[in-house]
Every structure is written in structure tokens, then in C-alpha cells.
Amino acid sequence: MAKGLGRKALPWLFLAPMLALIALSWIAPLFLTVYLGFTDLSIKNFLAFIRNFFTEKVHITIDNFRRVFMGGDPYISEVFKVTLLYVGSVLLINAGYSLLLSISIAYLVRNEILSMILRVSWLIPRITPGIIYALVWNWFIDPKYGLLNPMLSAIGVPKAWLPSSWLLDKPYSQILMIVVNGYIGASFGMIVYTAAIKSIPPDLINAALVDGASDFQVARNVIIPLLRWPMLFVTAWQTLSLLASYDVILMIWGSGGGGGYAGIARAAGVMVWSLYSYSKAFSEYMYGYASAISLVLVVIGIVLIVVYFKLFGFRRLMEPSRVEV
């Protein structure tokens, strides 16, 4: 009896550190965000709030959500549009382009050393400290001293098409926002896809080649169908990451210091939802409203994951695989 109990408890014992970590770093903040989202917490009532934490003295209200959804915030619709553009476009790079990149590197490039060098080169932005990455981009796009405009001119882009400011001129500022984030994100998908492609039994690919399939047909009809799991994982992971990411935008558009980064980001058309929440919390000290804004992201993230499960056929993916990948 005691032995049986011990066997049952053992897995939980091993899982305990991870569960504790998840509870501390994910469930507790989520719970707090939900709670704060329904309060009017700001710098003005901060001390009183701490004293009355989780008591009936805290004013519980749905005003924050009314402000988000009923037009009380003049920026929110613009922020939503920019976020849609940002998440949609960067996701295409992170989940779509990285797939093409992985097939090119892991399948089409037969030389293993060259393939490794290419993989490592795509990892450079990911392993570079964020602030250095942002700084390098700031130098690169500088209209006067940066390399970007001269490089574009050298490949034949007319001068009239080049912006005088990559930071401020729309849509160039938004293209920049997409590219700088996509360049980091693509490496994540590339690693996952490449590992999956490398684990496809060579017999399957060789059989297709013997049957006369072209490389394109192998990629389309053999490799991609076997990557549904990694594709679901990368798409879902990247969607959640992008919804919550703002750090590179903050570092590039707020690099001058001196305050007002949120105003500059708005004028440049790069104010994404999570940066908006950050600015509301840490520039304007509207903690309750910022939590409500974040909560909307959590709900959107959950809805999107459910949609992805449907799109990728989660049930079928859970069935025993006919091929070991």
C-alpha cells in the first residue's frame, strides 16, 4: 500500500520544482493581473492599495475595460491596428520564412559545415544582448551615417524612395519594426524546424527522390507534412511571444532617453499593445488600467491558441504517428 502510494507520489516530487516555478512565474502574475485589472490602482492610491490588498476596501470596478472597449481611450484602436500589423507580419517571418530557411539550410544545402555556418549566422541576433542589437540597428538606419540607405541605393533603389528618417516616416518605420523583430524571431523557428528536418528518416526522402520527385516536391510533399507538430509549436509560441514583446521597439524608438518615448512611438506608428501597457504602467503609473490592457492580450493569446489547434488538427496530431520524426 505504502509502496503504491510512494510510486504515485514520486512523479509529483520530480515535478514539484517545475510546478512551483510555473506557479510563481506564471500563475501568480496572471492572477495578480486579473485582480489589478479590475481595480483603479495608480500612483495616487498606491500606498492605500498595498495596505488594503485583497480586502473589501479595494475599489473593484470594470471601468478599465469600459475604457478599452467603449471608446474611452483615444489611442486604443490605433494601437490595435499597429499590433495586428506587427504580430501578423512578424509571425509570417518567424513561422513562415523560418520554415523556408530551414528547408534551404537543412535539406538543400548538402554540405554539413556550410549548413552549420548558415544556422549559426542566423543565431547571431538572438545571442546578441538586446541593447547592443538595438544600438547596432540605430546606427545602421541612421540617414546620414548609417549603411542602410547607401546599401539600398547601391542595389538600385531610387533616392526618392528612401526615407529621410527610418524611425519616423511611415510606413518605413513600421517596416523597420517588423524587420528588426523578425530577424531575431526567425532563428527560433529555424532551430526547431532544422532539428525536425534532420530527424526525418532519410529513407523517406530517398524513396521520393528515387521515384523522381524534385527537391521542391520533396519539400512540399514529404518534409512539410511531417513538420505539423513543430509548425504548430512555433506558430503558437511565436504568437504569444510577439503579443507580449515590446523590448526592441522600446530600445530603438526610446533610445534618446529624456522621456516621451510613448509619444514618439505613437507618431511613428509603432505603438504596439504590450508597449502601450508598459507605458501606461511605468510612465503614467496607471497600474490598474495597464493590467486590464495586458489582460486583453492574455485572452487574445488563448483564443488564438485554440484557433491554431483547430487549424493544425490537434486531435490528429495526438494520434500515434505513422512515421517517427
Partner: protein, 345 residues
Amino acid sequence: MRGLRTSSYIAKYKDLLQDVYPVLWNSVKYKGKIWALPQDTEARPLYFRKDVLRKLGWSEDEINALPEKIRSGEVTMLDLIKVAKEAVSKGLVQWGFYHRPNFGAQPFVIFYYQYGGILQDPDTGKLVLVKSAMLKSLELLYKMAQVDKVLPPEMIGTSWRQIHSDFVNGRVLFWLGGTWHWAEWQRVAYHETLGKLPEDYEWKNMGFALVPAPEPGLKPLTLSSPYLYYVTSQSKYPELAFLLILLATSTPLDAKHAVDSAHLPVRMTTVDHPYYTESRFHTEVAYMLKYTTFEPLHPKFSAYKDAWIAAITKVEKGELTPDKALDEMVSVLKSEIGDELIIKE
């Protein structure tokens, strides 16, 4: 933690605080009460290139008299815009003016104050928007960037390195900067041949003055953002803490801090301290404190700044006219700040 109202201690130790620049008390007041002691301060001058003015035909006397003429209101921003246009048209500089690439208060708050704007109601502590002053200040920036083309339309977002490099190398005639930049140019190699600037080079080729009155009849000003010493309301020995910060701002320490960190003193007696008088720059710039102004102390001022800088960016780029930008700013501020904002015509 909340700051402790220090008014009672200031009254008790007033004999030890008589030499604090009176204007600096405005920076620590909220709803008429004093909450802190200023620790240090600075000023935001208008720097100018003497070498470019020489090439425009100005005599040494005319160049040396410029700061005083700005101080007296004889020379205004409108006059300097004309000078800048001339320098640009003759190919002596690429741009007439540079200002900060972010909010940083200079010169936006200064222009707004010069046109009669106020940012905080002294009695209620609420933020204030005076529409006529804001419109005038936006119109001035529009004129500089879009009409006379002496200011880059994409000034906001320009890299700091480019700004310093362009001014230090003489590609810009006027730079609306801060007093600490004088020291920065000596410590960072911005100059393309000299690297770090010797101070002699600065005295020979650069000058500084108050931010001129935008137009005749208005006043020159500058702006400071002092660091402040607070005593928290949780302090067990608040009077002892107050005496400690009083000592920390005493004349010898004030002089040492001001000179070593390229800031300005908080006490009038500091400007006569030997350590301070040894620094020519500090001595010559100290008068600006009599013309200084401050940003408001208000938790919602960040929201105000965000709406303001968005308006400035759009106006300078020519995306919105000043009146349209003001309308947008007013509607945003009403929504963001609500009851804490007073709008005046």
C-alpha cells in the same frame, strides 16, 4: 514612500538656507508646500558657433555681445532664424538649429513658457494647458522646420552621436542643449580631427546664451531639472535627516559637485567659492539660474509629455499643421488626464 513636508524645518533653519537661489524653491513646491531640498541644477542654453558667425562677417565684438543682447531681449529667435537661413543658404552649415531628439523639455517647455504658458496650477497642483501659448510654440517649430527649413523635420529620433558630431564639427550653427554638454565635448571624441575637444577650442569656436525670446516683447529663459533630496515620511529621525541633506548642500560640497559634474550650484554663495571660480565656464553660465524655469511635479506629466512630443513630431515633419496638432493634443489630454487638467484659452 511619501516625502515629508519639509516646510517646517526650512522655516526653523532659514538662516542656513538664505543663499539658496530663490527660484529653485519653485522646483520643490507642490500645492504651495515645500517637499524637498534641491541638490543640484543645470541650465539649458543656446550654444552657437562663433566660427560660423565670423564667416558670416560678424566682428568679434558683435559675437561677444550676442549673449547680452539675447539676455536683454534685443535679439530674438526670429533674428537668429534669419541668421541661420543666411548661413544655410551660403553653405556654411547644413542646418541652422538642432534641438534634442526626444522630449527632454528643451526647448519645447521653454518656448511654451515664453509665450505665456503655464504647466501647473500653483493652488490645486493640477496640470494646465494654455492653448494660445501651445499653439504659438508649435507654430514656431513649424516655421523653423517647414517654412524656413533651418531645423531638420526629422529632428526627433536623430541619434545623439549625430547631433553632437554635427555641432562640434561646425555643421550646425545653433544647438539648444544643456550646460553639461560643454564637459561632454571635452570627454567624448566627437570632433573628426581633434577627437575630444580642448576647452580652448570651445572658447574660441563656441558661445552660449539663454534661449532667446521667440519674438520681440517676450523674455529669454532657460530651464532646469534639479535633483532633489527628500526626507521620507517613514524616517525615524526626520530632523537629523534634514540636517544631513542641509550639510550635503553646503557651499563647499555644492561647489565641488557643481564643478566636477558640470552642473550648476544651488547656493548663490557657491559662485564665489574658490573651487567654483576656477572654472570659467561655470562662472560665466551661473547667471542663467536667475532666468530658469522648471517642469511640473505631477504623476500625469508623462502622459502630457507623450501627447506633446507626438504633436511636435507631426508638426516638424509637416504631417499636421500646428492648429490640427493642438486639437489632437487637447483631445488626447482630456481623455488621458481628465479632471487633473485645466485647459485655458
